[in-house]
Each structure stands twice: as structure tokens, then as C-alpha cells.
């Protein structure tokens, strides 16, 4: 799998770059919103980033489950990588949301259900990293983080449905579901392109990070062997 990543990550990188550039061009050339002005352009970062952070956690849950079931190291490598990628997207969502929130709600932060649960997701990601770091035995670390990731997955539906279950400041879902369409034709094409770009970006980051994790582990093994040999 890692080999396959090594072979393809260049291609994915180029594809990411191209879609991202197209997306940005579309975003900048789209008309400003009559209500929100230029602030609306953050939407094209915020929404795909938010989707990707949820997707990353979903992926993490699957990889963790597979690791516990099959006990194959590649699943653990994928899990470790998706934690980093997910944390980055989550941070981006929070940051872009906050920046957007200042003009829209008059404050960087508000304690509504979606924002709170998203913050919890970030804490979870950080907790997973800290846990892996803090356990010396790699097998134990792998198992513990996998179990924790699965337990933490309860946060996902809460984030997703928070706008439906609770009265919130935050925008209700706009693509699908019972809520009325709020995204007009003008906004749709750049958003779609940006979404594709972010999916590609996520895939690329995952590949690169997995490669790095795998390389680090291999290096550690080699280092141990070298130490042993030097001592006879």
C-alpha cells in the first residue's frame, strides 16, 4: 500500500494543485454576496474543510476498526496519518468559521451546539495524538488509539445533526435534507470545484503522512538493529 502511495502521490499532488487553482479562480471571480459582501468567499474554504474533517474522522474510525480486527500494521499507519490530517482540517474549519463569525455574528466564538461539538472533535484529535505519543510500546499505542478513536466516533453524528437537533446560530444543511435550498446557482460551481479540490488535498495529505509514518517506523527498526549489531 505504501509503495502504491509512493507511486501515485505525485499524480494526486498535481491534480490537487490544478483543481485548487481552478477553484480559487472561480471563487475570486464569483460576484460578492449582496448581504455578506466579500466575507462570503470564506464559505468556499470553510464548508469543504468542515466536510473533510468529518470525513477524516470517519476514515479514522474505519481504519481503527480494521486494525483491531485484522491486526495489520498498514491500518494503523493509515489511522495515525488520518489523525494528523483530520486535526489540520478541523483547525482550518474552526479558524475559517471564527473569521467568518466575526462579521456575521459579531463575535469570534459562540457556544452553539455545532461549534462546541466541533471543538470537541479537535480535542479528540489532539487527545489521540497525545495518547500515541505517551505510550512507549507501539503495539499498545496502536490498540489504545484505535479503541479511543472508535469510542470518540459518537461525536460525528452529534456534529452533523447538531443544527437539526438544537436551535443554533449556525447555518442548517444546505445541500440536502429537509431545509430549504439556501445556496443559489452562482455559488454552486465554485463550491463543487473546491470540494473536489479538498477531497484531493485530503487524499494527498493522507498519502504523504502515511509515507512519513511508515518511513519513521522503518527507520526506528533499522536503528535498533544497528545498535544491536554495534554491540555485537
Amino acid at each position: 500500500m505504501i509503495k502504491w502511495f509512493s507511486k501515485w502521490h505525485g499524480v494526486v499532488f498535481v491534480a490537487t494543485l490544478l483543481t485548487l487553482l481552478t477553484g480559487l479562480w472561480l471563487v475570486l471571480s464569483a460576484p460578492a454576496d449582496y448581504q455578506q459582501g466579500d466575507a462570503v468567499r470564506i464559505l468556499y474554504i470553510h464548508v469543504p474543510a468542515a466536510k473533510m474533517s468529518l470525513l477524516s474522522y470517519l476514515f479514522l474510525t474505519v481504519a481503527s476498526g480494521m486494525y483491531l480486527w485484522r491486526r495489520q500494521e498498514p491500518w494503523d499507519i493509515l489511522a495515525e496519518a488520518s489523525v494528523s490530517v483530520g486535526a489540520a482540517f478541523t483547525a482550518l474549519t474552526l479558524a475559517s468559521g471564527s473569521i467568518w463569525g466575526k462579521p456575521m455574528w459579531g463575535a469570534w466564538w459562540a457556544w452553539d451546539a455545532r461549534l462546541t461539538s466541533m471543538l470537541v472533535l479537535l480535542i479528540l484529535f489532539m487527545g489521540l495524538m497525545a495518547l500515541r505519543n505517551a505510550l512507549e510500546d507501539p503495539h499498545k499505542a496502536a490498540r489504545a488509539t484505535a479503541v479511543l478513536a472508535i469510542i470518540g466516533a459518537v461525536d460525528l453524528p452529534i456534529i452533523h445533526y447538531s443544527v437539526v437537533w438544537w436551535r443554533t446560530l449556525h447555518q442548517p444543511p444546505s445541500f440536502a435534507g429537509p431545509a430549504k435550498q439556501t445556496i443559489t446557482g452562482d455559488l454552486l460551481p465554485p463550491l463543487l470545484v473546491m470540494s473536489v479540490a479538498f477531497i484531493l488535498l485530503g487524499a494527498w495529505l493522507l498519502m504523504v503522512k502515511s509515507r512519513e509514518v511508515a518511513a519513521r517506523r522503518a527507520w526506528e527498526t533499522l536503528e535498533t538493529e544497528r545498535l544491536e549489531q554495534s554491540h555485537g
Partner: protein
């Protein structure tokens, strides 16, 4: 007649164990028959305790195979735990409990039913009857060791794993232990112990096993 390896009730083949940064056991082959006693000798850090911990199912078998009484460790570790007894460097005693309570705890967790008289008899056998009601925390090193070893009187295990059992025991304790081990072996138990004082075991029929850097070797003479 020498019993053939196929009769062995404990069989270990090409056993490996590595801690994160360190390969400790590098291919151990070992077998024991009923009534046999093996003594592991080797330098500090050569892997004796690690080998015993793997056989006690405390550490995972990372490579190779380990079978006890026809059971495979990868499938029936839990059942094996009920058949063997391990007394290691640590006594596994709770300081705030008395000797009786500690034994009761052990019995319940090994699913052994033991009456109070039985427990008292064990405490007396290891020479601690005077201290039966005192918290173990205050015990001297040798008293703790005696109590830990006393566990093997609660039930005759099929495999006994001892890590430096003689340390901290006084002269009488050594004699007592050798008697107990003698009758354990006569009753057909298997015994594997790690030790640095082979002279103390002289009284028992045994086979010496030399461990060097995680491998069993013919002798320790060529130790650097």
C-alpha cells in the same frame, strides 16, 4: 529410557520476543516433561525473566510457538493461566491486605475454592502464623517472598515458573522451598526456574539451561 520430545508437556519452538527497541529472545527451543526441573542460568539482562514472562503468558509470543499440555498459547492463554503458576521478582502482594487476605485474593482470582483453614495452613507452612493478621506492607523482604511462594501450596499447578526463588530467603526458607519443590516434582509437576545460585538447587535433580543474549547455549564458560 530418555523420554522423546513428543512426550513433552511443555514445548517451545523458535520463540522470539522483542521490546520496542530491543530484541531480547532470539529463537528459544525448549521442552519439559512431567516431573522435570530446568534451571535457567545466565548473566544479568540475558533474558531469563523475559522468557519466564512469555511462558507465564504475561508477554505475547511474537514469533515461534509455545504449547503447554497440548494447549496453544495463541488460542487458550486463559486456560493455560489456570494451569500454571508464576512467582517472579515481584511478589504481587497488596500491602494493605493481610497474608490471609492476599491468599484469598489470589485464590478467588485463580478460581480456586479455599476454606479459611486451608489458607491458615498455608500461612503457617511458610512460617508466618504470627503475622497472619498484619498488613503485608510491614513485612520483611524474606517474609514477603515466603508468602508469595506459599501460593503454590494452594493448588498443585502443572507448570511452575520461578524467578530467583531463593533470593531473600533465609537458610530455613531455602530448605523448606527445596522440600516443597522436591515433592512437587515427585508428584509429576514441571518446574522452570531462573537463578544465580546454582549451589542452592544442588539438592534437586535438575537440568541446567544456559541463556546468553536471548539464545540457549551449550555452556557459559566462554562468557566474555
Amino acid at each position: 529410557m530418555q523420554p522423546s520430545p513428543a512426550d513433552a508437556r511443555l514445548q517451545v519452538r523458535d520463540l522470539h520476543h522483542a521490546f520496542a527497541r530491543h530484541r531480547v529472545l532470539q529463537g528459544i527451543d525448549l521442552s519439559l516433561h512431567a516431573g522435570e526441573c530446568g534451571v535457567l542460568l545466565g548473566a544479568n539482562g540475558s533474558g531469563k525473566s523475559t522468557l519466564l514472562a512469555v511462558l507465564a503468558t504475561r508477554l505475547r509470543v511474537q514469533k515461534g510457538s509455545y504449547q503447554l499440555l497440548g494447549l496453544d498459547v495463541r488460542e487458550s492463554a486463559e486456560e493455560m493461566r489456570g494451569r500454571l503458576l508464576f512467582v517472579g521478582h515481584h511478589t504481587h502482594l497488596y500491602g494493605h491486605l493481610t497474608p490471609l487476605e492476599n491468599l484469598l485474593f489470589f485464590a478467588d482470582l485463580q478460581l480456586i475454592t479455599a476454606s479459611e483453614e486451608r489458607l491458615r495452613a498455608v500461612v503457617a507452612a511458610v512460617g508466618l502464623e504470627k503475622f497472619a493478621e498484619q498488613p503485608v506492607r510491614w513485612f520483611s523482604a524474606g517474609m514477603r517472598k515466603r508468602l508469595a511462594l506459599g501460593r503454590m501450596l494452594l493448588r498443585q499447578p502443572e507448570l511452575l515458573l520461578l524467578d530467583e526463588p531463593y533470593s531473600a530467603l533465609d537458610r530455613q526458607g531455602v530448605i523448606w522451598l527445596n522440600q516443597v519443590l522436591q515433592s512437587y516434582l515427585t508428584a509429576g509437576g514441571m518446574l522452570l526456574m531462573a537463578s544465580h545460585d546454582p549451589e542452592r538447587i544442588a539438592a534437586l535433580p535438575h537440568r541446567q539451561l544456559y541463556l546468553r543474549r536471548g539464545r540457549l547455549v551449550q555452556s557459559l564458560e566462554d562468557e566474555p
